[in-house]
Point group: C2
Chain length 191, copies 2
């Protein structure tokens, strides 16, 4: 199982409902994992049935009640075993890079548009991640926080997200610029 450990890891950060988790996993949990809402609800049901998490009903006024979940001792044990097991290689699959790979034989215009769009998204995510980092480290500077702060796990994983988004952003813009310039030169020749 794959989502399992990502959910457990996310729930270490506090009690969350299925809906709250969908928000967290929608951004990709600091970009290390993505999951659709239906997946999460199904996974929470399974994890609770397996005793790795426990749910608690929270009554709300003005909006539907919700169930929030916490990791149990058994869940923590599962995470420990998971952390000790050899890591699977990073899994990355990206449509856009496939398109760039093939761009020599294709119309570059839509690819360029998508690169620009992706760059915007990456910039937005980077912004978001930086806010999360600032909130996590409070009034300490990064170095001090990493040395003395209490919970560095989420901070470190978010740093990974920052790096990825920054590089994505830069690569997209560089690639878009390269393709744009080449397209301009080709146009100049063909008419």
């Amino acid at each position: 199982m794959a989502l399992k450990h990502a959910v457990l890891a996310a729930l270490l950060g506090g009690e969350y409902s299925g809906y709250q988790l969908t928000k967290i996993f929608d951004v990709g949990v600091s970009n290390f994992w993505y999951a659709a809402p239906q997946q999460l609800y199904a996974e929470l049901t399974r994890l609770e049935a397996d005793g790795l998490i426990t749910g608690r009903e929270v009554v709300q006024k003005g909006r539907p009640n919700k169930r929030v979940f916490t990791v149990t001792e058994a869940g923590l044990g599962e995470l420990t075993a998971f952390a000790a097991a050899p890591a699977k290689p990073l899994l990355i699959r990206d449509d856009l890079v496939v398109k760039v790979h093939a761009v020599d034989r294709l119309d570059p215009a839509p690819v360029i548009a998508q690169l620009r769009e992706r760059a915007r998204e990456a910039a937005a995510k980077l912004d978001l991640f930086r806010q999360i980092l600032a909130r996590l480290r409070g009034d300490l500077d990064e170095e001090t926080f990493l040395r003395e702060g209490e919970h560095v796990g989420p901070y470190l994983s978010c740093l990974a997200g920052c790096r990825l988004e920054r590089e994505t952003h830069d690569w997209c813009l560089q690639t878009a610029r390269t393709l744009t310039e080449r397209a301009a030169r080709t146009e100049g020749r063909t008419p």
Copy 2:
């Protein structure tokens, strides 16, 4: 279908057999897609049945014969449609970052070991990608090649791979160092 377009894109680079593709996809085609051998053989069968690629038997001496594949006109059409369609968001799933995220409540030792191992792998891939880039650009420098070279697609996608591996490498080492130092400080306190 997902693999489909990655295979078509890879086959634009020339004629390859299933086996050769497994080698290419094993590295992740410059890190943008990974696929297992069985997936590839199945996908090639399907693509040929759909007329998007054509196979050709190559008789070899001293080793088993093989079938190599080329993209057809229909295949190129499929790729064009794919390139014009909106890109799906980058899909990234990484065990190791999940472990780091949860590391505050876990034994950091195995996580640190895995971070170092991942750093080594990333360095190796980075090396490989740099060789590929050098081969692709020939005796031109990068700027000139990107401006005037003939096939920049594979070069640009490989650049994406380089960025990813470089960041992975640096992040792994920085994270391993942070966790190591914190572990040392905790040890100093608990005995």
